[in-house]
Amino acid sequence: MAGRNVHFSNTSIFFSLLFAGAVLFIEPADKISLAFYASFNSVLRIGRDAQVNTLHPQPEFENTFSREGYTQLWKDFKNLEAHLLAVQKECERIAKVRATLPELSGGLVMVQITGRVSNYSNEVVINKGENSFIRAGQYVLSEQNDSLIGVVSKTSETAARVRLLTDTKQSVEVRIRRDGTKKDIGAMMIGNGANGCKISMIHKHTDVRVGDTVYAAAVSNKLNIPLVAGEVVQVKEDEQHPLLWDITVLPAEDMTQLGEVAVIVADETLLKRTE
């Protein structure tokens, strides 16, 4: 009976909830969001396939070579080139050292994209997490495993967030290369928040041109060989720093079309899986 007579004033309720909101703001509580996406994964995916088909309808004529097909071939070609270069370097190294060390290779975990986090961010939620050996920092590839699309940013047991290359908080080490040359420029690429990426801090004396290919640099335990990330589409003088280039890169993968993607899991996870 006493409990029924307890009365909280509007002011006390407001400030209590405001305090709760402030605690949420201060404390890292992002697992709640991931838990929500993991719990309602199947419901949230409704309409996903229709959406992809609506945005990218199939070509009507069989003899028409689609843009997607061309992009696919272009990426395969670029990746083969990069692979060839990596193999050549490896052969040279082996020839010199005459000994090889056992090399552990990473594995791929295929995941499905549940949805985009919000209208504003370039982050997506995937339907697997720590239980599938996915950890923050791991690289995420396109469905065909032929181009880098982003990096795992947060994980829970059953879901994870992937920050796409186009996100302003995502920076990736890249190499800029050109067909028929030995040009290989190292740089950092960061998302521009829209549909592209930016490369800055490259001196104007450096020869970078529209059409140059941008590869994600090989990183130990994350990416064994360089992989296509995009193509340089604009090179102009940096307005704030006239001695530097302001380079715009168009990602190789259309970020609005992503359905299934692959996460490169590190070696230690493979070993754990074997156990």
Binding site: L17, G21, F25, D30, F40, L44, I46, S121, N195, T256
Partner: protein, 171 residues
Amino acid sequence: MRWFVFFIILLIATLLEAGNLLKLFAVGGRYIGPSILITLLVYYALACRTKDAIICSFLIGFAADIIAGPMGPHTVCFGLIGLLLNQANQVLLVQRAVFKALVVFVVYLIAETLSYWLGFFKEHNVQNNYYTIMFFVGIYSAVISPILWSILAALSGWANIKKTRASRVYH
């Protein structure tokens, strides 16, 4: 107020906003889609008594945080704006569809701008074209808000909302 009904409505709205079904109607790539939660916020803040309006506003903000992240900014902003709207109810007469849309549009702009700034304070996350996207999402949300408003008004009896005198016009 029957909180169970409110939670069901909030869950449906959250799932719609977070999921892909509503994005079928998005324009401009996939960026410009309607926000349902903002209509919920405006409706419940104007229709409920102060106590219920405060709780509803914070809960809707919490749902918005779950969808968009980082946690906190929407909870705080929606709570504050919900209270302000509820107090403004005594001088604000929102009967016609165009006024409803206008209120939703203005509230969306204010709420999202404040949330963005708070979010920036927390994570230093800058998004290009943010204000452009926000403007068009606000318009989209405002356009569909009279329809959602009607649905919520139809459900108000089921939810047993104890209305203020001023809010009795929202049928």
